[in-house]
């Protein structure tokens, strides 16, 4: 149980600054997901919290205690790595017990804790096996087990699901969420997958180029993106962006307008705000994606219900959306 505070964290490699002052306040027991494209600094940030990278400037506080100079082992954290980082020459049991053995935990307690964790993760039949004899999902569980048995005050996850296939990823995602709820341990989770971020997070941090663009609850971020980047990164299919010059904007500062695919509706040709032509359609069952090309050349995507009639490709049509759904951004990409 712990809180985590990042205070104006900066990181430079050589002469390049990769993280430009990040502030985060994580409450006790909260599940925070850091999401962003590759190279945005999210993993570096996590590694700094773990103590695997030095902090160039700023402060990291775990439970109010400054840990900048502390070794990883003294920070009372546990980390799950992308490639699992299991000890290949040890059995599942030894992998999970390793940290406890080093901490000189009594043998009976080690066995107890490993057994409990193994049960939780359905690993009990595999305790005597070596990692290479396990499937990807089982290895992932062992990595989680190794983190759990130590009862840390902070969990760190570095893209733990990105090496799994799509089906297993969904399943493990639910298990992680469930586990974190049960244990109530403050968690910091890094991913580039926005679906993972949306489903797991109590609050999410969207990072872009070494800056935290927005911090907030998933739905709040989705509904109210703070920047053009966030609007484009969160949500699939991505938000449609149109130059404000296509309209007569209500504010001169508006440079770009964003409309989410599900907020736009198809209208008859000649009506609506914009004229367009259906380029092609993708019927996904529950929903249908309509890919359109505007008269002015921009592409536009509309997401409609799977039961709505699908227009033929090549049909001329119009696009409309309610004013309230319009996302307005200025030149710097800031929301207005």
């Amino acid at each position: 149980m712990a809180t985590l505070t990042l205070n104006q964290i900066r990181k430079t490699f050589g002469k390049t600054e990769v993280i430009h002052g990040v502030d985060i306040d994580v409450k006790d027991g909260e599940f925070i997901v850091i999401v962003g494209p590759s190279g945005c600094g999210k993993s570096t940030l996590l590694r700094m919290v773990a103590g695997l990278e030095t902090v160039t400037s700023g402060e990291i506080l775990i439970d109010g205690r400054r840990v900048n100079e502390e070794e990883p082992m003294d920070r009372d954290i546990a980390m799950v790595f992308q490639n699992y980082a299991l000890y290949p020459h040890m059995t599942v049991f030894d992998n999970m017990a390793y940290g406890l053995k080093i901490a000189k935990t009594p043998k009976s307690e080690i066995e107890d804790r490993v057994a409990t964790a193994a049960k939780m993760l359905q690993l009990d039949p595999y305790l005597a096996r070596k990692p290479r004899e396990l499937s990807g999902g089982q290895r992932q569980r062992v990595a989680m087990g190794r983190a759990i048995v130590r009862k840390p005050s902070l969990f760190l996850f570095d893209e733990p699901l990105s090496n799994l296939d799509a089906k297993l990823r969904v399943q493990m995602r639910l298990e992680i969420k469930d586990l974190q709820k049960q244990l109530g341990i403050t968690s910091l989770y890094v991913t580039h997958d926005q679906v993972e971020a949306m489903t797991l997070a109590d609050r999410m941090i969207v990072m872009n180029g070494g800056v935290a663009d927005q911090i907030g609850a998933p739905l709040e971020v989705y509904e109210n993106p703070a920047t053009e980047f966030v609007a484009g990164f969160i949500g699939s299919p991505a938000t449609n962006f149109l130059p404000a010059s296509l309209f007569s904007p209500r504010d001169a500062r508006i440079k770009t307008i964003g409309i989410r695919p599900e907020h736009a509706t198809l209208t008859a040709a000649g009506s609506g705000r914009l004229a367009a032509k259906i380029l092609f359609t993708e019927a996904l069952g529950a929903e249908t994606l309509l890919h359109l090309r505007l008269e002015t050349g921009e592409s536009f995507t509309i997401r409609q219900d799977g039961t709505a009639p699908v227009p033929a490709e090549g049909t001329a049509c119009g696009i409309d959306w309610p004013d309230s759904r319009e996302l307005d951004f200025d030149e710097a990409g800031k929301r207005l």
Partner: protein
């Protein structure tokens, strides 16, 4: 499926194999056959005739106390060379692996000694420790230590061990460094988070994961100590003082080419061949089981 090159006829593959087969036959099978053949005879002092003695040469060896002493010397020598060269190399590799700045320079410099031929290395060390003009023996003299490997058996052994290990450290270093770099960083980081400090990590994670490399080097270094150290011993001590550094391979040379006892020399090389073969089999059978691949 494994992709294999297939040939239509047999002529081209045979032709391609021929050079290697020829080299192996000319420089390995033929001399080995000659050694086995000669080990069954005693030639006369002028080399004009040979007399068949069956296993007489071997029986004679078995009773020879000098030969038995040479076995002990070889065991001590190769054990020490392997230990010193591998230990030193592992130590340097662990340090070089941790380097961030200038690691390229360190690595290059550490690899250089390997390029020095054993006989040349032997001469270098001999000069440094020469009882009259050697730099190191002179400094040792200043410190009140009277170095004389020409007379002192322990010092002679120490010197040939160091000289033989020196160039070998580079070779072992390369393999250890490659082995260390093949260990995923995240595994080491996971251990660090799990609370293992440097030495614990080394003992419980790094060293076990290095075991394939260590095992390979163990085999290679013992074979090296048995055979390729001839040049070093020949230049520094010539097997002396009092046979203290006469390892098996040196005795083969001494008895055969200096003592002109070709029958015994041939018998000794046959024994040597069997010993090394046996050692390698034992290593693969028993040590390899403990290796985690």
């Amino acid at each position: 499926m494994e992709k294999r090159v297939t040939f239509k006829g047999w002529l081209l593959p045979m032709l391609l194999l021929l050079p290697q087969v020829f080299i192996t036959a000319a420089f390995f099978f033929y001399p080995a056959g000659q050694a086995i053949y000669q080990s069954l005879f005693i030639p006369d002092p002028f080399g004009l005739s040979m007399q068949y003695v069956g296993l007489g040469n071997f029986e004679y060896l078995a009773k020879d106390p000098y030969y038995r002493a040479s076995f002990v010397t070889t065991a001590v020598f190769s054990g020490l060379v392997t230990l010193v060269s591998m230990g030193m190399a592992l130590y340097l590799a662990v340090l070089a692996d941790r380097l961030i700045k200038g690691s390229g320079t360190y690595r290059t410099l550490l690899i250089w000694p390997y390029a020095v031929a054993p006989a040349v290395a032997g001469v270098l060390w001999m000069f440094m420790f020469n009882t009259r003009v050697g730099v190191i023996s002179w400094y040792l003299g200043l410190l009140g230590y009277d170095w004389n490997h020409v007379l002192n058996e322990t010092e002679a052994m120490g010197l040939v061990v160091v000289a033989s290990s020196w160039g070998r450290v580079s070779y072992n270093f390369l393999f250890f460094l490659a082995g260390l770099q093949a260990i995923p960083r995240s595994v080491i980081e996971a251990a660090a988070i799990d609370g293992a400090r440097f030495w614990t990590r080394f003992r419980t994670i790094v060293f076990p994961l290095l075991s394939p490399t260590t095992f390979f080097l163990l085999v290679v270094n013992i074979v090296y100590a048995f055979f390729e150290t001839f040049g070093v011993i020949h230049t520094i001590t010539s097997g002396g003082p009092q046979q203290a550094t006469t390892i098996l391979v040196y005795k083969v040379y001494k008895d055969g080419f200096v003592g002109q006892d070709l029958g015994s020399s041939a018998a000794q090389s046959v024994v040597l061949l069997l010993v090394v073969g046996l050692l390698t089999v034992i290593q693969f059978k028993y040590i390899e089981r403990r290796v985690h691949y």
